[in-house]
Amino acid sequence: MRYIRPQSIEDAVGLLAEPDGTAAILAGGSDLLVRMKGGFIEPDLIIDIKAIHGLGEIRETAEGFSIGSAVPCAVLGENAALKKAWPGVVEAARLIGSKQVQGRCTIVGNLCNASPAADSVPAMVAAGAKAVVVGPSGRRTVPVEAVPAGPGKTSLAKGEIIEAILLDKRPPHAGDAYLRFIPRTEMDIAVVSAGVNLTLDEKGTVKTARVALGAAAPTVLLVEEAAEVLVGSKLDEAALERLAKVCSGACRPIDDKRGTVEFRRKVAGVLARRAATTAYKRAGGK
Amino acid sequence: MVEVTLWGALGAAAGGKSKIDVEAKDIRELFRKLAEQYPGLEPHIERGIAVAIDGVIYRDTWSKELPQGSEIFLLPRLVGG
């Protein structure tokens, strides 16, 4: 086993693309080290990407925000501009693990761990976030929801690494929110979760909407029918009822140690409704 | 002579009796005579029996006297956390 701390993304890609052995990317390590400790993986090479220039930064650009793949989630919460523009994404990222984990974990790690219950992913999907993927054949940008391919699996090819997450600049009257259900108040994995992102017109009518559910299917669910329910409404009680119903219906959950099918279905709807209400308020709706 | 009450499982080992009269001045003598009179009780005594004398439970003080007319109750020896 080797530990290497490359200085450039190209070096990292080169190491990842090496034909022999298995390589693991280390950013925050909060998933990787747990898997190594449990004996589930024993990589031949650990590539610590934190020394790569730019990967530890959040940049505000003309198009919006670029969040480097080595930025710990705690730092997202300390960035006032990001928090103001994308409160839902930030609150989702800030729910991952404990305070101790927050100082280490990253949203890219959360995405690439490919757990259906990842907290930041439904919020990012609702936000329409994109991932910048760098690989042996160059750079490409993909929607975040294209990254997880199933529990523990991603669509990334050998040698590929996510460099950053991109979030758009916010138009006026926009808001997002994320809610998850956990049995305790902290330290749990989401039993089920919902992210909602809305833009409103001047009168408070929903112009665009994106609704995503977590821990409700093998990968994050972008529920287009739920968005259709909201568009054109002012989030009246009837629209919220329909939203809940559609979300519950869209779930394809499983029974496991964290919850039952019935529970996840019912609560997915409840959370979607509550998250939509918060997002609406954040967008300035009344 | 003291009257000794046995808890359920012990009664079965003493031939179905729930109360026994024993001539004993202390717990040690009580156990000795019980074992003599009811051999079925011996393994239970070896495993450990607690004796409640007027409501106070004794696990190990075999020298404890059994006052005349006191209420003697045999119990399983318990464990705690």
């Binding site: 280390l26 390590g29 080290l33 449990g38 650990i46 934190k50 280490r104 | -």
Partner: protein, 158 residues
């Protein structure tokens, strides 16, 4: 497996060590450097007993590789008191009996120190959520929260 040579700062002192690539910072502290104040309660970041401060961030040292400490600044429980003068949090933990068995105490003290560094006047709720990454099975947290509250009052007055 090739060892990794690391040069780092621990509680203000320069420290150099050689560790295996998969060795955690916790194992390095405990097994190589004899700093056994950080405890391993779970090894998976779920209990906080191994909490240390790494470059001003509270982390579980079981979720950090020893190799990652290169060039960084590590604070452990062993560095919390100044000589024989206890940190106000340590003193208040004693006065309030905020520990029973004490195995979680070093982690709680590091977490509380980090909390107060970022929020010198937290509400009870902020304290409770700030310490939610640290498990205590003995106290029910009541006396821990009170000790932190009392330390806050004292540190504000100082």
């Amino acid at each position: 497996m090739a060892g990794v040579a690391v040069s780092t700062t621990i509680n203000g002192d320069n420290v150099e060590y050689l560790c295996q690539p998969d060795e955690t910072l916790l194992d390095v502290l405990r097994d190589r450097l004899g700093l056994t104040g950080a405890k391993e309660g779970c090894g998976t970041g779920d209990c906080g007993a191994c909490s240390v401060i790494l470059d001003d961030r509270l982390v579980c040292s079981c979720l950090v590789l020893g190799a990652e400490a290169e060039g960084r600044n590590v604070e452990t429980i062993e560095g919390m008191a100044h000589g024989d003068k206890l940190h106000p949090l340590q003193q208040k933990f004693l006065e309030h009996a905020a520990l029973q068995c004490g195995i979680c105490t070093p982690g709680f003290l590091m977490a509380a120190k980090d909390l107060l560094a970022k929020n010198p006047d937290p509400t009870e709720e902020e304290i409770r959520f700030g310490l939610a990454g640290n498990l205590c099975r003995c106290t029910g947290y009541d006396k821990i929260v009170r000790a932190v509250q009392d330390a806050v009052s004292e540190m504000k007055a100082a």
